[in-house]
């Protein structure tokens, strides 16, 4: 009787966790895979894994813990799903044309997609709310200093590219 009540409580807590964090886990998975379907598969696998091993019951930093699990599952899927990754360069418009048509946001996203994978992933994770350098380091399994360096380098590259595109756009 007591076990049933405890089980019911755990189920309720788990459902609450899913409601709270499913979108966050999706973002982490998408930062790795850049594929909505693949990211959703990772979300489902992440929560199923957590439910089965009940590791979620004792986690301290909920978001960091979930992000780490999702990150690992997503990274494991990269080689298998490599062929399904979207094109890094958009077929309909290049970044310069996007800049000319005021699609500045789209141009930035395409530039980020074109970054080296190690820089892109760190920059993408930094865009997710609530993840600071220390948490990104924990998720990706790299030192915090490396995260900062990569972030700085990634931002620098995107800015340089944007500036050069802006100059060329003004010149046209």
């Amino acid at each position: 009787m007591r076990d049933a009540a405890r089980e019911s409580l755990l189920v309720t807590r788990f459902e609450s966790l899913v409601e709270r964090q499913a979108k966050f886990v999706f973002r982490v998975a998408y930062a790795v895979l850049r594929n909505p379907e693949g990211a959703e598969d990772v979300v489902q696998e992440t929560f199923l894994k957590l439910y089965r091993n009940r590791a979620w019951e004792g986690m301290e930093n909920e978001r960091a813990f979930l992000a780490r699990v999702a990150w690992r599952i997503a990274v494991e899927r990269i080689p298998r799903r490599g062929a399904e990754l979207p094109e890094l360069v958009s077929q309909d418009a290049n970044p310069e044309d996007a800049l000319l048509t005021s699609d500045w946001m789209g141009a930035v996203h395409r530039l980020v997609d074109a970054l080296p994978e190690e820089l892109r992933q760190v920059l993408a994770l930094s865009g997710i709310e609530g993840l600071n350098s220390r948490e990104i380091a924990e998720v990706a399994g790299i030192p915090e200093g490396t995260v900062r360096t990569r972030l700085q380098r990634a931002r620098q590259l995107v800015k340089q590219k944007l500036e050069s595109m802006g100059r060329s756009a003004c010149g046209k």
Binding site: E19, G127, K159
Partner: protein, 149 residues
């Protein structure tokens, strides 16, 4: 055109799209389905030995095949090695004893007499059997010596 750090941060916040609506419900449904499936497999575990036992009981056992060998005369194949004569002799079928043979004329007459007049035939045969055997007296002549030659 804003290309400073704030703009980049704002752009990165929108880099990742929103998931399809209802992701939470889909995740919970997936977890429940997976758990139900798993529970179903667990319930099969105690049943499994019984199933194996039943299968063994119902499994058709091999019936011993009785092969009836009818003796047939086979000719030696061309090129087949012919055993030597002394070995061949042993392989020949031995006739059963006594050898069945047709009755002789005397035996037939005796059989007819026994059928028609059994008492006379019995007396005749008894008389024949009871007749004492006469053995003539043996006479052994002494050996003749040749005079010490």
């Amino acid at each position: 055109m804003g290309n400073d750090s704030d703009d980049l941060t704002a752009a990165m916040a929108q880099y990742i799209p929103e998931p399809r609506p209802g992701i939470e419900q889909r995740v919970l449904r997936h977890v429940r389905t997976a758990q139900k499936r798993r529970r179903r497999y667990w319930t099969l575990i105690p049943v499994l030995p019984l199933l194996v036992l039943l299968l063994l009981m119902l499994w058709p056992r091999p019936v011993p095949v009785v092969v009836r060998v009818t003796p047939t005369r086979t000719l030696p194949l061309v090129g087949q090695a012919v055993p030597p004569a002394h070995k061949r002799h042993h392989r020949e079928k031995v006739q059963p004893f006594p050898t069945p043979a047709p009755l002789t004329e005397e035996e037939k007459a005796l059989q007819a007499l026994a059928a028609s007049r059994p008492q006379e035939a019995q007396q005749l045969l008894a008389h024949e059997d009871d007749k004492p055997i006469e053995i003539p007296q043996l006479q052994i002549p002494p050996l003749q010596s040749d005079g010490g030659r």
